[in-house]
Amino acid sequence: MMKKHLKFNTKCKLCLLPSLAGTAVFFVIPYIRVLYYSLIDNQFRCNFVGLDNYIETLNNEYFRLALVNSMLIIAIAVPVLIVLALVISLVLSFGIRKLKKLRTAFILPMLIPTASVVLIWRTLFTDTATPLPIYMLFIWKNIGICIILLTAAFTGIDENIYEAARLDGAGAFTLHRKITVPMIMPTLLFTVLLSIVNSFRVFKESYLFYGTNYPPDHSYTLQYYMNNNFLKLDYQSLATSAVLTSLLVFLIVIAGMALQRRWDR
């Protein structure tokens, strides 16, 4: 039995090997290299400068501006996205049957090329005094995947549980509070984390909308900061800001996982 177990484990590891190798080559090793670059003065002279680059980056007003703008997307656009996705998912899962056929229509924003969408967006939103067009574009683009995930979570709940609860006299509110919400919470948390990660990737849409590497201050995000430093060949600022961004995302994901573990308990 032990032998069988070990053989199975070995097989599992072997199956994982290609994936791990790919991850190492395309993610882990480059990340370590970027980390190294963030600790030297430049990649041609390679003098170790410790945390000087990080201090310089954190003291840079435009990095801080970019960080604030990126966090605002998380604080404003992501909750709106999740709430909208939840409502639509609920309607699709528990609402009128005919509406269920519209489910696939919500995937369309993900399929349409961003450049085409931005052309329409620029016609609809001519006022660039606020970042609202970018937030709405982000929500429009990402709502599809959130709806798919949440709808799958909703439809994955066994009907018998609801039946049993109704037999016990539970009302609609209690049903959703005691059954639906706990059952979909892992998926909901995952959807939130996914949306937060996607919010850091908002750049293409914004770049095409504003048509410049220097958008209005309210839309200047971390991606712009990194991209502009790349064009200026300032690898150290680029590497440092990339590491800091990855740390931020990592912390958010850890917090999310801790929240989930707490919820499970």
Partner: protein, 654 residues
Amino acid sequence: MSSCNNADTVPESTDSISTHTVVDITPNEPSYLEYPIDSGQPERFAVSPDGKVIVSTYRTSSSDLIELSADGTGRKIGECSGIPEGITYMGDDLYVLYSWSGNKEGIIIKKIGLNGEKNETYAEFELPISMGRNMSGNENELYVIAEDKNKGDITCNYPNFWNNKLSVFRIADGNCEKLPVDFPTAVCAEPGGGALIAGCDDNGYYVMKYKDDTFSEKMRSDNINSSIDSIADVDGEHFVFGMFSFTSQVSLYASDIGNITPAELIPGTNINGEKLYTRNGYCYFEPAVSLGMDGKPINKDDKYKIVRIRFSDYYKYNAPMNLLCSRMLRSTPFGCGYTINAVELSDEETALKILSQDRDYDLCCTKTTDTFAYSIKKQGSFYPLNDVPGVSEYLDKCFPSIKEAFTDENGNIWALPLYTDTDFIFSNTGDTDFSQMKLGEFLDYMEGLPEEEADLTNCDVFMLRYAALSRYVTTHDSFDTAEFRAAAERMKGSEVMNHKGTYRPQVSVQSEKVLMLMTGIDMVRSYYPKLYEREYRVSGLPCISEPDMIIPDVTFLSVNPASEHLSDALDYIERLTSHQLTELNTFIFKEGEGNYTDSGTVKQMIGLCENAQVYFSYPWELYYWDFIDYLEEKISLDGFITEADRKLKTYLNE
């Protein structure tokens, strides 16, 4: 008289490449030597086995054969009747080629009696030939290339200067044999027998060898994209050739025979047609002299001469130099014997290549107007050139602002400046002084010109607009100044500034009367002789603030520190440095412009460049397109200033 045999079939091909031993009989002599010719333009020249240069110069009804010396003296060693169409050595004897004239058709080859001996006819052949073009000989063969009347009107996909009418004839042992070659354009006899032939066919231009009745494969290269006018074998492994360039000049190239990769030997050299010879590892050629309508040299300092160069000093064997180029570059730098492979990439691709420390490029060639140019210095993505021989001295000869721009704060020379491309205003009519005009005054002047005077102007609006804005932004950190606002208000209502394209493009550098011509050094270089003849007043373009402020656009070369051919790259820089010091039109040296120091126009241009200040440009997108929106009334002046200042501040501080 013998008739010529035609070889009806093409013998089998062979890929064998023979080599022959080359002995440098003058190893201690300079690698570059000139043989001046005082007796006028030479008709033909040849080089004896012991390296003596013999030219034929026409007098009245005959030609003298003169043995040249490098000190300019010549010794007459023989003469021949008329004008020979070819002159060459076969063994130790000198031969000349004539075509029959009058009722007869064919060629006559005469052996020249040297040192008092009589000339004698070596061979005569009755052939349908209208004009012999050249003759080349080795120990026992002569090869003649001539216009063949039998060819008729035949076409080929690839054009050559001689309209496909040439044929190659081999003369040996008293026989003449026409070789079956597709549209030959040049031939040279090879030591030990055989010949190197250049030609073209429907697949392009080619070079091939002929020996013992067999032809090699036709060797081609994408870089041989024009007709080869002359060819000569150096040592069996390398050859030199003159190829027509897009400017209708014949430039001098060299290549390996086995792997054809042309490298230009001396840039800008226009060699005179088929006058190319090799002997003992040296290459001899006659630089072409541009003649005016009166038959005299356009440039009075141009002299007729034969030039000799030591091949090994000019050609780098099998050595490509991979160059990362700015898209805005007018031309790649001279190869100095290396084959330059230039790759043009976008700004993003270039940045990625530099930051990734790619090893597959050796040099980066860009301009101070490129947005990432300054970043190369700031990021340290260069190999310091301080220890490359000649570079420090080279920079010392440059204008101070150029030297300062290419030396970093640690004293490292981070790039080699090559040349500047700056815009000027030229004028030779009227007495308007453009040198102290600001932009507003200039616009008033242009818009107030009467029609007949306006026809003597050429105003490039894009150049004017770009120069005004870019110079302003390099010396100010905000557009919110009274001076700029006033200039912007003036520009908005201006007929000139709102014009699309060139405003009144009536004159050029070829025009006689010029009231105001706005053009760059690039255009000026192409028409140097014209400028040399006429005197212009020269000034910089009008500015928004300081008048006569010149910011040169400097093209420079930096070495990739991660290059896999680093030693070759540094060797190339050393060669290029030496070569650049002989270049005549770079406008980067304090000492001026070589042969053109007599030109008042050029002196003024140099004076302006001397006072210029090198700045590295900011990206256009910071201000230019918003300014166009302002001129087109899509945004207000305050809107433009707010946007431009915001972008400028972000760019400078992020």
